[in-house]
């Protein structure tokens, strides 16, 4: 039997697990990245590889030790070196003596046949067409819902009266979603989740709003970004992130299949500053920063893994973008450090800066109360 494992990325493992199990595989759940994961990653990866590579490699070592014999990961096209990472990871792990099959899922628009063959390998149960529809619909809904409750937690955290209330509600929501068995359950759960957040006692004020842009892995996996969104929420900041896995899949897999440019708006928005693609999410970072500015955000934070070329390109353009649009800008380079103090210092100072900036501009504009917006 196939014992399948995949990289850990936020809470998406819940939906992936249920999808792969329904397809007739045993799933070896990847552990949440910890210091142990990072130790494996840095030990076996080339020193100059980026942080996401090391975390994923470390995760693979852990799941192989736990008995996995098949690893599934995404590929990619374009100049970002992440597209080659599964190949390199496969070589490293095989050199270490592990036996397994690596299945790389490439974007469907360019490698459709290859993708279908690979997906076939992961289907190990007799399924009818209706089964497929049922299974995929459920997993997809789970993924969308997981993104939604996470987004809600970032909204509510800045307003909570009792510290930790949003984090606890989020945890409860994730548990409910993970325990769901069928599509119909999810509708009920969605209502319950909304209710949970509604019940949290909120302050009535207009928090500082910060948009987060950058490379996808460090954006989506809190263990790789020192839980920056929680930290900002605790500082009373409303945080929104440019990327969630469900949106990302739509624009990069579904749209790609029909040869449509994913995230077209973002790329178009970026074009006055950034016409060519530079791989990864460099152009998206610029485009999303502009979108955040247009939505009235106070500032933008860019997250990038240390040495990430696409984000280095974006980093040199973003200060001008933010200056032109009159919003604050801070860039954070992430690597294997787990001490949070340096990051907290920068975030606090950034929030101070945005607060005094807003105080200065206040005589001109009155922003709508966000608390009311959300009610």
């Amino acid at each position: 039997m196939r014992k399948v494992a995949f990289p850990y990325m936020g809470k998406s493992y819940i939906a992936f697990k249920n999808l792969l199990t329904a397809f007739g595989n045993e799933v070896v759940l990847p552990p949440k990245p910890t210091e142990e994961t990072i130790s494996y990653g840095t030990k076996y990866a080339p020193e100059f590889a980026c942080y996401p590579f090391k975390i994923v490699l470390g995760t693979f070592v852990q799941v192989l030790e736990a008995g996995a014999n098949t690893l599934v990961s995404s590929g990619g096209v374009g100049p970002c070196r992440a597209g080659l990472y599964t190949t390199l990871q496969e070589k490293i792990l095989k050199d270490l003596g592990y036996e397994f099959e690596m299945i790389t899922l490439e974007p469907p628009g360019r490698h459709f046949k290859d993708l279908m063959q690979n997906i076939k390998k992961l289907v190990n149960a007799p399924l009818t067409f209706r089964d497929y529809v049922r299974i995929i619909r459920f997993a997809w809904r789970q993924l969308v819902l997981l993104d939604k409750v996470e987004q809600l937690s970032h909204k509510v955290r800045s307003l909570e009266v009792k510290k930790g209330a949003a984090t606890r509600a989020y945890k409860e929501c994730v548990e409910m979603i993970a325990a769901a068995e069928k599509y119909e359950d999810l509708r009920e759960i969605e209502r319950e989740c909304e209710l949970l957040y509604d019940k949290i006692e909120k302050k009535d004020f207009d928090p500082i709003k910060i948009g987060i842009v950058g490379e996808i892995y460090v954006l989506l996996e809190p263990a790789s970004n020192l839980e920056i969104e929680e930290m900002l929420g605790d500082l009373g900041v409303y945080v929104e992130r440019s990327m969630f896995l469900s949106d990302y899949t739509i624009s990069n897999a579904v749209m790609d299949l029909f040869h449509m440019a994913g995230e077209r708006d973002v790329k178009k928005t970026a074009s006055p500053y950034f016409k060519e693609m530079c791989g990864g999410h460099g152009r998206e970072s610029v485009g999303n920063a502009i979108l955040f500015a247009k939505m009235g955000f106070d500032g933008v934070i860019q997250l990038s893994p240390f040495t990430c070329i696409p984000e280095i390109v974006a980093k040199s353009i973003l200060p001008k973008v933010c200056r032109d649009h009159g919003i604050g800008f801070l860039t954070i380079s992430l690597d294997e450090q787990t001490g949070k103090e340096g990051l907290r210092t920068r975030l606090e100072a950034f929030v101070d800066l945005l607060t005094s900036k807003r105080r200065k501009a206040k005589s001109f504009t009155v922003k709508p109360q966000m608390a009311k917006e959300m009610a």
Partner: protein, 320 residues
């Protein structure tokens, strides 16, 4: 008369200042943290207590620096603020028209950009230690030159040698190689200062508009060679504040004064006699496995942090 205290617990040094109602610096203390912030804070308080002939009436305490939370709990701070804001506040009070603050301390360096008395941008080094106080300290040691003299050596050089400044490792090997060729120490040291300034302007200050007046503070501002190299590279005069080495602590004291608390949480000058300890445990309540730290006073937990869900949080109100 009312007094306000500022504590800045940095990686290398722990500083205390005491200011009076008119914001004059009455006392300032600079000690090495030496990896033990609790001990450093207690020692600082003890030193202050020994100079306390007038029985100062401390009305507010501010803490800053990377150890600010710890210091805040131990001393009993009313305001706990990051060092970027604290440095900006202190600089603004002394030089109201400052537009750029260059701050180079023991382990980090930063640039703060101000316009009309408001911080509009800042950056702090993230990835390397080249150009910070520790590196200069180490090089002075290697060349057997007292750190206080280091900068003056650079001023004596007429013919600087080019040193690589991008990375402390490159810089050091470049220095060693040039020294083995027979270059004079003065020329090498001036070359080093120029390299570090080049690196600062190219890395931390990249993309920032450096407008006058430029204020240079932090321990490294004592180095005349660095000041000269900055003036040379920027083509403008650089101002070094009188208390350049304790500006963070001054900022914290000013913030404490501005906060106008009705009753301070300051634990008093006797706190050097109290036994403070810290220990930690891993919470296994959920997959996050948070490292929770206990701060204990005479064996009793007075503060806890490190948990993401706040379930271990005690005595919320002890910290501002």
């Amino acid at each position: 008369m009312a007094y306000y205290m500022g504590v800045d617990v940095g990686s290398v040094s722990t500083n205390f200042v005491l200011i009076d109602e008119s914001e004059n610096v009455i006392e300032s203390i600079y000690i090495r943290t030496q990896g033990n912030p609790i001990r450093a804070v207690q020692e600082g308080i003890k030193m202050l207590a020994s100079r306390n002939e007038n029985n100062w009436d401390v009305r507010g305490v501010g803490a800053t620096g990377s150890g600010r939370n710890l210091a805040g709990v131990i001393v009993g701070a009313d305001v706990i603020k990051n060092e970027i804001t604290a440095h900006a506040v202190a600089s603004l009070r002394e030089v109201p028209d400052v537009q750029t603050v260059i701050e180079i301390g023991g382990q980090d360096s930063k640039i703060i950009v101000l316009r009309d008395g408001v911080v509009t941008d800042f950056a702090m080094n993230t990835v390397c230690a080249a150009g910070t106080g520790s590196f200069l300290d180490q090089q002075a040691n290697r060349l057997n030159i007292p750190i206080e003299e280091f900068g003056n050596y650079a001023l004596r050089s007429k013919n600087p040698v080019r040193i690589a400044g991008r990375c402390a490792v490159f810089a050091e090997s470049d220095m060693v190689h040039k020294q083995q060729l027979g270059h004079r120490p003065e020329d090498i040291i001036r070359g080093l200062c120029e390299a570090l300034v080049r690196n600062y302007l190219n890395n931390i200050a990249k993309g920032k508009e450096i407008r006058p007046r430029v204020v240079f503070q932090g321990g490294v501002a004592a180095n005349a060679g660095m000041k000269a190299a900055f003036e040379n590279a920027l083509g403008q005069e650089i101002y070094i504040p009188k208390h350049y080495d304790v500006m963070g602590a001054i900022g914290a004291a000013l913030l404490a004064k501005d906060a106008q608390v009705s009753k301070t949480r300051f634990k008093g000058f006797g706190l050097s006699e109290i036994n403070f300890t810290a220990d930690s445990f891993e919470c296994s309540g959920c997959p996050n496995h948070c490292e929770v730290v206990n701060i204990k006073m005479e064996g009793k937990v007075i503060a806890r942090w490190g948990d993401r869900c706040n379930k271990w949080k005690v005595l919320d109100d002890t910290v501002a």
